[in-house]
């Protein structure tokens, strides 16, 4: 490492300029913040804003065959808002994803808590144990659920062997419940890690203080641990909720006709029905639905947290 003392003292105009710039940077926290942010922002602006801009423009065009009519119109949005079934489909997708999120986070919290507080050594081993199953492909894990829930899968053949049923159960696969189970399994580590991180960095002396004040373990959890871990929980919920709304692979593989989500329709508009503009409009409406739902969840947890403190 080169220390400052080893470099020659700055000389001439360039040196003075360096000093001035350095001074400005040291004095202005905002500028330093943006300098730190700049690489990330450049990547996101260049690779996000342009594509999203294209998407927005597309949603105002119309298409017939491979020809795109560049006249700006709100026709696609009117179609979506005038036909209740479109909004119902978006609503159903949001509902399925919310159920997945709730299930995933509720299941993940205790395990994150367990690793953060009950495990004294080898925490990293546990974290790795949790991620190991997820190094196998997502598509194969969905397939594994097909094996378990399938017509002659583990559950059905097991129950048959026990004599509980003589005809395989058909309500296990190809419905929205199968989508929820599969997604809750698939997104587990994504939920565990942020919650664990927020619990792990918690100031342990606060917990001791609560115990000293005579709190029971449950009171201590509700008054100290849970509120302090809320940022991690919210991060986990967002990380699970947002991507699952747009998923079309899992509904396609295990959802059956009733497990179809809005992602399937968007995919179809782009790749089957040749209507990119309608697909773009659907995407934008879905993105808005996601944003509104996320803000709602965030607002509710914020309220709950403020009331608790």
């Amino acid at each position: 490492m080169t220390s400052e003392a080893q470099t020659a003292p700055p000389a001439g105009t360039i040196g003075r300029l360096r000093t001035v710039v350095k001074g400005a940077i040291f004095r202005n926290a905002g500028l330093r913040g943006y300098i730190l942010l700049s690489p990330t922002l450049l990547v996101l602006l260049g690779a996000m804003c342009l594509p999203v801009g294209i998407l927005a423009v597309y949603s105002l065009w119309t298409q017939s065959g491979v020809e795109i009519d560049h006249t700006l119109t709100l026709a696609n949005y009117l179609k979506i808002f005038n036909k209740p079934s479109y909004m119902l489909l978006i609503g159903k997708s949001v509902l399925i994803s919310l159920t997945v999120t709730l299930a995933t986070v509720l299941l993940a919290y205790p395990i994150a808590y367990f690793i953060a507080f009950k495990i004294k050594r080898h925490k990293i081993v546990w974290l790795i144990l949790i991620t190991i199953p997820f190094v196998t492909s997502y598509l194969l894990r969905v397939f594994a659920w097909k094996i378990i829930l399938g017509y002659n899968g583990i559950i059905n053949s097991g129950l048959k062997w026990l004599g509980v049923i003589d005809q395989p159960l058909t309500f296990l696969l190809h419905n929205p419940t199968a989508v929820v189970i599969t997604l809750a399994h698939a997104w587990a580590p994504i939920a565990i890690l942020p919650i664990f991180v927020s619990l792990e960095k918690m100031d342990r002396s606060l917990l001791e203080a609560a115990t000293d004040l005579g709190d029971s373990p449950l009171q201590r959890f509700l008054r100290v641990t849970l509120p302090l871990s809320i940022p991690g929980v919210v991060a986990a919920a967002m990380l699970v909720f947002i991507p699952t709304v747009g998923d079309y692979i899992t509904p396609q593989l295990v959802g059956g006709p009733d497990g179809m989500m809005v992602g399937s329709l968007m995919h179809a508009m782009f790749f089957r029905a040749n209507d990119w503009p309608l697909g773009s409009a659907l995407a934008i409406v879905s993105a808005l639905a996601i944003t509104v739902t996320s803000l709602g969840v965030w607002f509710l947890t914020k309220q709950a947290r403020e009331r608790a403190v």
Partner: protein, 272 residues
């Protein structure tokens, strides 16, 4: 000497839950190795007999190996790049109060509110307009885009409420910014960095939709697997690959742990 259970086995209900949860995580995945030894092309019970022919077929399938290597390369690059970007952004957000902080944070989350398929097609059009040929590079770039918000959120979660007094103390003690970073900031951020690297690696290694739209002739593993789902004859070979990845991961982790423990045991000896 009094016998004592390791700490994680004491604690009743929570421990039982943890064990059950691990069963939930592992059982579906363990069917992959089971059926990779099944002598039949359909993934259904009853099992038909033991065979290793799928593993032999796997070793002979060059396209599969190429896809695996492609995925590892992309995921490794993506995890490193996006974690660096995430650390920088998270540090800016948690350390400095600046104008436009909140909107910028929202902008950062943007890749997450755009469904993967749409982002995929938009990026594809853009790559086309800019004349960038489709390759592993375009897949990697798209993955960096979606992995960076993940990395940033994890790092913010770690650095939030981070005591900047520690850094000031270090600076007061005459340390340079660089030394302060290595001695104080970095060790405190390390668990977050590890979590971020893990998370983004998995995110990229497993990502299908963007990779599907942005791939040229080189396929990543999920694209390869998706193409194999059409053909039951090839599916067991894919299961064999899944089993191998699982085994490889377990061995790597076990070896790392063995080395670490060995290291811990040797410490007092060397001090003798």
């Amino acid at each position: 000497m009094k016998f004592q259970l390791p700490s994680w086995m004491r604690g009743g209900g929570l421990t039982t839950y943890a064990v059950l949860y691990m069963v939930f995580l592992y059982v579906p995945v363990l069917f992959l190795p089971l059926f990779s030894f099944n002598d039949g092309i359909y993934i259904a019970f009853p099992l038909k007999g033991f065979t290793v022919k799928w593993y032999e077929a796997m070793i002979e399938t060059e396209s599969l190996q190429a896809a695996l290597f492609n995925s590892i390369r992309v995921a490794a690059s993506v995890s490193i790049i996006s974690t660096i970007l995430g650390v920088l952004a998270a540090r800016a957000f948690t350390r400095y109060r600046f104008v436009g902080r909140k909107p910028t944070l929202g902008l950062l989350a943007l890749p997450l509110v755009v469904p993967g398929i749409i982002l995929g097609i938009a990026l594809l059009i853009m790559a086309n307009r800019l004349g960038i040929p489709l390759s592993l590079f375009t897949i990697g770039a798209a993955h960096v885009l979606i992995a960076t918000p993940f990395a940033t959120f994890v790092m913010i979660s770690r650095l939030e409420g981070f005591d900047s007094n520690l850094e000031e103390a270090s600076r007061d003690l005459g340390e340079t910014g660089w030394t302060t970073f290595w001695r104080v900031t970095f060790p405190l951020a390390l668990p977050g960095i590890v979590a971020s690297l893990l998370l983004t690696f998995i995110e990229s290694f497993d990502e299908f939709i963007l990779a599907f739209f942005l791939s040229g002739t080189d396929a990543t593993l999920p694209i390869y697997i998706w193409s194999q789902l059409r053909f039951p004859k090839r599916l067991p070979v894919v299961l064999a690959l899944g089993a191998c990845i699982l085994l490889f991961t377990v061995i790597t982790v076990a070896f790392a742990e063995w080395v670490r423990r060995k290291g811990v045991k040797l410490t007092p000896k060397s001090e003798d």
